[in-house]
């Protein structure tokens, strides 16, 4: 098995920054990433795409090239297209690359697995043509594809960013169906003091809104009873806004009401998680360095709590400094000296969060969906069925998983876990922390039996 000093999982901003900082400190790094090219979702395919459509995507995207450039160096083995499916003590990381399973081992692991779109279970959200807003971004960034007739549904700055990019590319969205209310914004204003420290961020937001106004993109706010209608694929979004029922015809729907940490890998190694009421999700419990209760396991980036790309990059560097110190490549003094400016930077970068969390809260209807709405996309389990299992005595998601298969499909609960926890907490009167979350086990992603079998000692012996 290949050995190195630290394994970094994920080549987004946090992972790339962590790998570069670790290599700077003289560590041998294995950087594993599922995608064929580095960048993560925020800088997806940036090296190839920046020249093609950097204008539409903006500087916030193209500057990701600084990070991808920094990982092309000695000391970093970038294993692209490597899908990690098991992380075991020691640490031994099993992954699949080019159809073959392999392993790499290191005393330290930095998990930089990023964010997932917060599940937004609405009637019709499984129809072809309905995607996450993140998927819309990926289509544009990586493939230069724009939906001709798209409705953007939900809340949050990402929705405006996508809409603005669509306007710039000449295919504005048919409409924005926004779930936040004026009252949300008023509540958010008390965080403005902090947000003003993140002024450039706010200014960008206002500029995007102005772009949408100029392009006369219809915006409906405070939308409720949202559903996607269609026979075999998305054909319209129906909702109420301004006291009236409305229907907007479309063929693509992009859903978004925030992102949440992708906790699968961290949970699989036993990192404790805690409910974050402000962000409506579970966050892993980390110290200021990204260290966890599992010795040797560090988390950085959105996977450790949503902060965005800039915070992720900073956190990646901070975690790498701590790893380098623990491995004896940096003195504690040197570690602290290098971390001090990064910590100050991070504090400025996170100042906007409380405002954003308050201004764009998740859509209540999608946090506690109606009985008939599918919650588990893989196994097609409805919210009503989950509530029924609560009546049968299920007090946690692992028991509902056994009773009704929610979370058993290939996505392994990534897009139903938070909803199931919320539904059970609502039904039992327990907190989300008391209710808990799915037990995440290998394989983190499906792996063929043939690949697994080829790793068997007996098979290996025969091959040798």
């Amino acid at each position: 098995m290949r050995q190195c000093d630290v394994i970094v999982v994920g080549a987004g901003p946090a992972g790339m920054a962590a790998a570069a900082t670790a290599a700077d400190a003289g560590l041998q790094v294995a950087l594993l990433d599922e995608q064929p090219r580095a960048g993560g979702q925020i800088y997806r395919d940036v090296d190839r795409v920046a020249a093609l459509r950097g204008g539409i995507l903006g500087k916030d995207y193209t500057e990701g090239r600084a990070l991808t450039a920094a990982i092309r160096r000695d000391g970093i083995e970038h294993l692209d297209g490597a899908v990690v499916w098991a992380i075991e003590d020691g640490f031994c990381v099993s992954y699949t690359r080019a159809g073959q399973a392999a392993q790499v081992s290191a005393p330290k692991v930095i998990l930089a697995t990023g964010a997932l779109e917060r599940p937004m279970p609405l009637p019709g959200w499984t129809l072809p043509g309905v995607m996450t807003a993140g998927a819309g971004q990926i289509l544009l960034k990586q493939s230069g594809l724009l939906a001709r007739r798209a409705v953007l549904v939900g809340t949050g700055p990402l929705l405006y960013l996508i809409a603005a990019q669509m306007v710039r590319a000449g295919t504005p969205p048919v409409a924005l169906v926004e779930t936040q209310t004026r009252a949300d914004l008023m509540r958010a204003n008390r965080h403005l003091g902090g947000a003003l420290r993140g002024w450039p961020y706010l200014a960008k937001g206002l500029a995007m809104l102005a772009e949408l106004m100029r392009a006369r993109v219809p915006r409906y706010t405070g939308a409720t009873t949202i559903a996607i209608a269609g026979d075999g694929r998305a054909e319209a979004v129906t909702f109420r806004s301004g006291g009236k029922p409305r229907t907007v015809a479309c063929d693509t729907v992009f859903l978004h009401h925030g992102v949440v940490p992708n906790t699968q890998a961290a949970r699989s190694v036993g990192v404790p998680h805690r409910w974050d009421a402000a962000q409506h999700c579970f966050n892993p419990v980390v110290d200021a360095w990204g260290g966890t209760a599992v010795a040797g396991v560090f988390l950085a980036g959105d996977g450790a709590g949503i902060g965005g790309a800039k915070v992720a990059e900073t956190a990646g560097r901070i975690a790498a400094l701590k790893v380098a110190e623990e491995l004896g490549r940096l003195s504690a003094d040197e570690r602290d000296r290098r971390a001090a400016p990064l910590n100050r930077l991070r504090s400025r970068q996170t100042a906007i969060r409380p405002f954003l969390d308050a201004a764009y809260p998740p859509f209540a209807e999608a946090l506690a969906p109606a009985d008939a709405t599918l919650v588990c996309r893989c196994e097609e389990v409805t919210a009503g069925e989950i509530r029924g299992y609560a009546k049968l005595g299920c007090i946690g998601p692992n028991q509902t998983k056994a009773f009704g298969r929610a979370g058993m499909g290939p996505c392994q609960g990534r897009y139903c876990g938070l909803t199931v926890t919320a539904l059970l907490a609502e039904a039992t009167g327990q907190t989300p922390d008391q209710t808990g979350y799915y037990r995440i086990r290998p394989p983190l992603k499906p792996v063929t039996l043939g690949e697994l079998a080829a790793m068997d000692d007996g098979a290996r012996d025969a091959a040798e």
Partner: protein, 366 residues
């Protein structure tokens, strides 16, 4: 108000017993653990199985046969009551062999058992060609199989759900999220929980799986059970490719291929491991080569509850008469017996099954 019975443990074993007591008109309160408790009922393989059981204790073979024979009625009754179908198939099952030697040795052992069972052990040996006719996807390295006609399989999670539903529909009370700390006896039994809950009952059944290790001695049982880890794999849902179940693999009614299982003495560690997964995958691919292209979507490690000789324990407490220990590692196979026959033993009716061989007397004091 006190129930006739308090059943400690809401897994397949406890719920089967509770269901059986309820269907006789008795009142029952079940105390079940939390979402993260060790639950063999969520991790078992789902076989309703007779062959190879009780090689050294024909009465265990008989008890398994009796339960398997009652399973169809048991499943039909639960389906009618709850609308939940258990996916029971009892068309026989295989013990696959990768060498002629092990096949012959097993047949020799089965013949000895068959004689002890007065010939009631309906199995046949399928050579490689005969097996291939029954299972077109079987691989060339499989030497043959023993097809036992009393074997079968069911959906164990739907059994668990149907029992949980059925117990409630029959008027049982189920308290979940409870950790039982002890049992006292005055005029009646009182079961105490760590959250202060106290449940009164005329009799107590301890069916808490590995929980019996700590609770058993408090009720006067030896409860010499230990955990044994079994790792199990399940693939994506596939079109039908395996007809009959075996200990190596079975296709569940939803389409996934379930592959089992390791036998590991690792204490309470219930993790899955890459070597465990790879070993099981290698065996499954050898048995069914087409599985090499199937995606593994889930795996789990569950802890079997094993007694020193692997047999069930049915024991009334010598210190606290009216308290019973019920534990086994074949809760699915024995579900029908626990629901339909065990209540006679608990109630000491004339129809009580003879379960003396399963008492704790067989374990020497240590």
């Amino acid at each position: 108000m006190a129930s006739d019975y308090a059943v400690i443990g809401g897994g397949v074993v406890g719920l089967s017993v509770a269901y059986g007591l309820l269907r006789r008109g008795l009142t029952v309160t079940v105390l079940d653990g939390g979402d993260g408790s060790h639950r063999a009922s969520r991790g078992n393989f789902g076989l309703v199985w007779v062959q190879s059981k009780g090689m050294n204790q024909p009465l265990y073979a008989r008890w398994s046969q009796r339960s398997a024979a009652a399973w169809a009625d048991h499943a039909a009754e639960l389906a009618e009551l709850t609308g939940r179908h258990l996916g029971l198939e009892q068309n026989g099952g295989y013990d696959l062999h990768f060498s002629e030697e092990t096949l012959e040795q097993t047949v020799a052992n089965y013949e000895i058992l068959k004689a002890k069972l007065d010939g009631d052990y309906p199995y046949e040996v399928l050579g490689a060609n005969a097996l291939k006719r029954e299972e077109p996807h079987i691989g060339p390295k499989v030497a043959g199989a023993i097809l036992h006609h009393q074997d079968g399989h069911a959906n164990p999670l739907r059994l668990l759900t149907a029992l949980a539903d059925g117990v409630r529909r029959k008027g049982g009370t189920v308290l979940t999220g409870k950790t039982v700390t002890g049992v006292t006896r005055g005029d009646e039994f009182v079961v105490h929980c760590d959250d202060g809950t106290a449940v009164g009952a005329g009799k107590v059944v301890l069916s808490a799986g590995l929980g019996a290790i700590t609770l058993g001695p408090k009720l006067g049982f030896k409860a010499p059970v230990r955990p044994q880890r079994g790792q199990v794999l399940i693939t994506e849902k596939l079109p039908k490719m395996i007809n009959r179940p075996s200990l190596v693999a079975r296709q569940v009614d939803e389409g996934g291929i379930q592959i089992g299982a390791t036998n590991e003495e690792v204490g309470f560690n219930d993790q899955v491991t890459q070597p465990g997964l790879s070993g099981l995958a290698a065996q499954a691919v050898t048995a069914y080569p087409a599985l090499a292209k199937a995606q593994l979507v889930r795996s789990w490690g569950a802890l079997r509850i094993l007694s020193p000789d692997g047999l069930p324990i049915y024991q009334e407490s010598p210190e606290m008469p009216g308290a019973f220990l019920v534990t086994c590692h074949s809760g699915v196979t024995l579900s029908a017996a626990h629901a339909r026959f065990l209540p006679d033993w608990l109630e000491k009716t004339a129809a009580a099954p003879a379960l003396e061989v399963f008492s704790e007397d067989r374990f020497a004091l240590s």
